[in-house]
């Protein structure tokens, strides 16, 4: 019972200095719960951090060291060659540029559409708004694996009739990504807007605000945590999307990062592991940085509504 003794010393001494400290059964329960939570937390940390650590280690190795029969968890001869090779290759820089353009445009479009849609659906009370809101969420439930073949066919038909070339162009992704991001972001924003008391827009209405002014001057500032959460989600989805760009783009100057890394660094059965790991690590950096800075907002955004009083 050494652990108990340690906790006794640290625990609050409610009885005052003259009375012996008494540990109730509640605190023993709590202590056990804490032990288990830490146990599982550590387990998850190991489980989820191992791949990136392995990626990082491998990215610092030369091809010969990777192929050699040395300890895979240690770098004996660190080198930045992989980074150098990737960051000087125009192909890789094109992937980054394509990814950035697609993500920024998709996120912007998504946020404008979903904030407007969520405001209308949650506040403007029109016929069928509830059904429409549910319908939007149902859209999100359809997996992209089910959609990419019909979409491919659609783009081909569009090309046939209008001559507009969509397939194998990076901007085709601007059309398909919002089908993934808009429904979910709209849903998040509906939930967030629902947690804003109705009296707030009524007060604005009486103060003389139009719907648009209510949205821009009241709702958007108040719902900023939710908007940031939705933005992060939209960014993550469009940055990491793999299937659609794999299906719709093929020329190396049209590829985005996730597909580009795989197609350009795996030649037949030759895997350039060092550069693959380096590329993946560089590709993972932007979401990581964004998460790190906006984590608090992200959590506040996702839990809003759950704790609505």
């Amino acid at each position: 019972m050494t652990a108990t003794a340690t906790f006794d010393k640290d625990g609050p001494d409610r009885g005052g200095p003259t009375r012996p400290v008494r540990q109730g059964s509640m605190s023993r329960d709590r202590r056990r719960a804490l032990y288990w939570s830490y146990f599982f937390l550590i387990l998850f940390v190991i489980f989820f951090l191992t791949p990136p650590v392995y990626m990082f280690i491998t990215s610092l190795k030369s091809s010969s060291e990777i192929a050699g029969a040395t300890n895979p968890w240690w770098v004996f001869d660190p080198t930045l060659k992989n980074y150098e090779a990737l960051l000087t290759s125009t192909e890789f820089l094109t992937f980054i540029l394509n990814s950035a353009m697609v993500s920024v445009i998709v996120v912007s479009v998504t946020m404008v559409v979903s904030v407007l849609a969520a405001f209308a659906l949650s506040r403007m009370r029109f016929w069928g708004s509830a059904t429409l809101a549910t319908g939007i969420f149902l859209c999100y439930l359809i997996p992209e694996t089910l959609l990419f073949i019909p979409l491919f066919k659609m783009f081909a038909v569009v090309n046939e009739f209008t001559g507009i070339q969509l397939l194998n162009k990076w901007y085709v992704l601007l059309l398909v990504y919002p089908t993934l991001t808009v429904p979910f972001c709209t849903w998040i924003m509906i939930g967030y807007f629902a947690s804003i008391p109705k009296e707030l827009d009524e007060a604005a209405l009486i103060d003389g605000a139009t719907y648009m002014q209510t949205l821009t001057k009241i709702f958007i500032p108040v719902a900023l945590p939710g908007i940031i959460a939705a933005t992060i989600f939209a960014f993550t989805v469009s940055w990491a999307q793999f299937l659609y760009p794999l299906a719709f783009t093929t020329s190396s100057d049209q590829l985005v990062l996730p597909v580009g890394i795989v197609t350009s660094l795996i030649k037949g059965d030759v895997y350039n592991w060092g550069q693959i790991m380096t590329g993946a690590l560089i590709a993972a950096a932007p979401p990581l940085v964004i998460y790190a800075f906006l984590m608090d907002y992200y959590i506040a955004g996702l839990t809003a509504g759950a704790t609505k009083g």
């Binding site: 009524e202 007060a203 209405l205 009486i206 003389g208 605000a209 001057k217 009241i218 108040v222």
Partner: protein
């Protein structure tokens, strides 16, 4: 001039009627309180005046103009909500000036008007704070400030004190009354608290089940309720009602209560009640303050009777006593020095000069 006129106002939510045809004239500068139990339609009525609810039928006029189809922002009204509805991301100054900024009022004038309102409400030093840094009472003041700044034709208050603790509520009640005395704007105030209604109102509108039961000054409602509902709703503790018979014997009327108490009806009421003698389903109503301990100078119309007390509640300045009259609980108010004790017999005095007789079928006070 900002009278508010409601003419045969009806509101249905789908098929459920919330307000079932009410008429009300509110004079310029008047303070009118709508009071009633939850679900009586008082808030709905207020929201219809504000323009936040569509009107199913009837006509609302503000300052002589019918506003049925006028949006809230063009009705020249200001509203104070139960949960204050302050914009959380704006400072107090920004909250109070929001309406004026939307109207593009010159900056100097905005500052002057906000500072003026802040002075009236004593919140000048709070102007730079955000709502979450304020206490409940301060938030309430800011919400009122936001209304005052706009200098509207009509103030609408929707249960503004319900979220405050008891002590603050009393304080803010006085505050609201003072503000009204200063700015003299026509005010419609909704509450479920009859004490608030009585203390604030020039006239009280008692509502029940979507209809107006009675409109009158606080004193009228208290002394001359028109229906059993009003008699029971106004006053705390509520008026006692006991089923009774009205008998005529040799020209005089007497009230016979279950359990054998017999009280003669005071002479000045005999004329009014005579036609109901022998009628069925009558109820005898008497406020707790008219059931007291006995004293030496018993006046005409006051009758003594004996009961066994069940429960006593010392309140300090008075003691509330409860006893049974054949299964009906009755409350009285006695002097703390009268020696009222739980479970003990006591001789009490009923002041029949303040009695009411209710027709149980129609619910009307006779």
């Amino acid at each position: 001039m900002a009278q508010v006129t409601l003419h045969n106002i009806v509101k249905n939510y789908d098929e459920t009627p919330a307000v079932r045809g009410i008429d009300l004239d509110i004079a310029d500068k008047e303070f009118v309180v709508l009071v009633g139990p939850s679900g009586c339609g008082k808030s709905t009525t207020l929201r219809m005046i504000a323009g936040l609810e569509d009107i199913t039928g009837g006509e609302i006029a503000i300052g002589g103009h019918v506003v049925n189809d006028v949006p809230p922002k063009d009705r020249d009204i200001a509203m104070v909500f139960q949960n204050y509805a302050l914009y959380p991301h704006m400072t107090v100054f920004e909250n109070m000036s929001f309406g004026l900024r939307l109207k593009r009022v010159p900056r100097d004038e905005i500052r002057q008007r906000v500072e003026n309102a802040a002075r009236i409400l004593d919140i000048t030093e709070l102007l730079d704070r955000k709502p979450k840094q304020l206490s409940g009472g301060q938030r309430q003041r800011v919400a009122m400030g936001r209304a005052i700044v706009r200098d509207p034709k009509v103030f609408l208050f929707d249960e503004p004190l319900s979220n405050l603790d008891a002590k603050l509520r009393v304080q803010m009640r006085t505050e609201i009354k003072k503000v009204h005395q200063k700015v003299r704007t026509t005010t419609v105030y909704v509450t479920h608290d009859q004490v608030e209604a009585m203390t604030l109102a020039d006239r009280v509108v008692v509502m029940n089940a979507g209809l107006i039961e009675q409109v009158g000054t606080p004193n009228e409602l208290y002394h001359h309720p028109r229906t059993k509902f009003v008699a029971g709703f106004i006053g705390s503790p509520a008026m006692n009602f006991v089923p009774c018979r009205l008998e005529e014997a040799s020209g005089a009327l007497r009230i016979v209560l279950p359990g054998g108490h017999v009280f003669p009806v005071p002479a000045d009421r005999t004329q009014r009640y005579r036609s109901h003698a022998g009628g069925s389903d009558l109820q005898f109503g008497l406020r707790p303050e008219h059931i007291t301990e006995t004293h030496r100078n018993v006046e005409p119309g006051q009758e003594t009777f004996d009961v066994t007390l069940e429960v006593t509640e010392p309140m300090g300045m008075e003691t509330l006593i409860y006893f049974q009259v054949e299964g009906v609980e009755v409350c009285g108010r006695v002097n703390p020095a009268a020696g009222a004790q739980d479970g003990q017999p006591m001789r009490l005095l009923a002041d029949l000069n303040h009695m009411h007789l209710v027709d149980g079928k129609s619910g009307l006070v006779l």
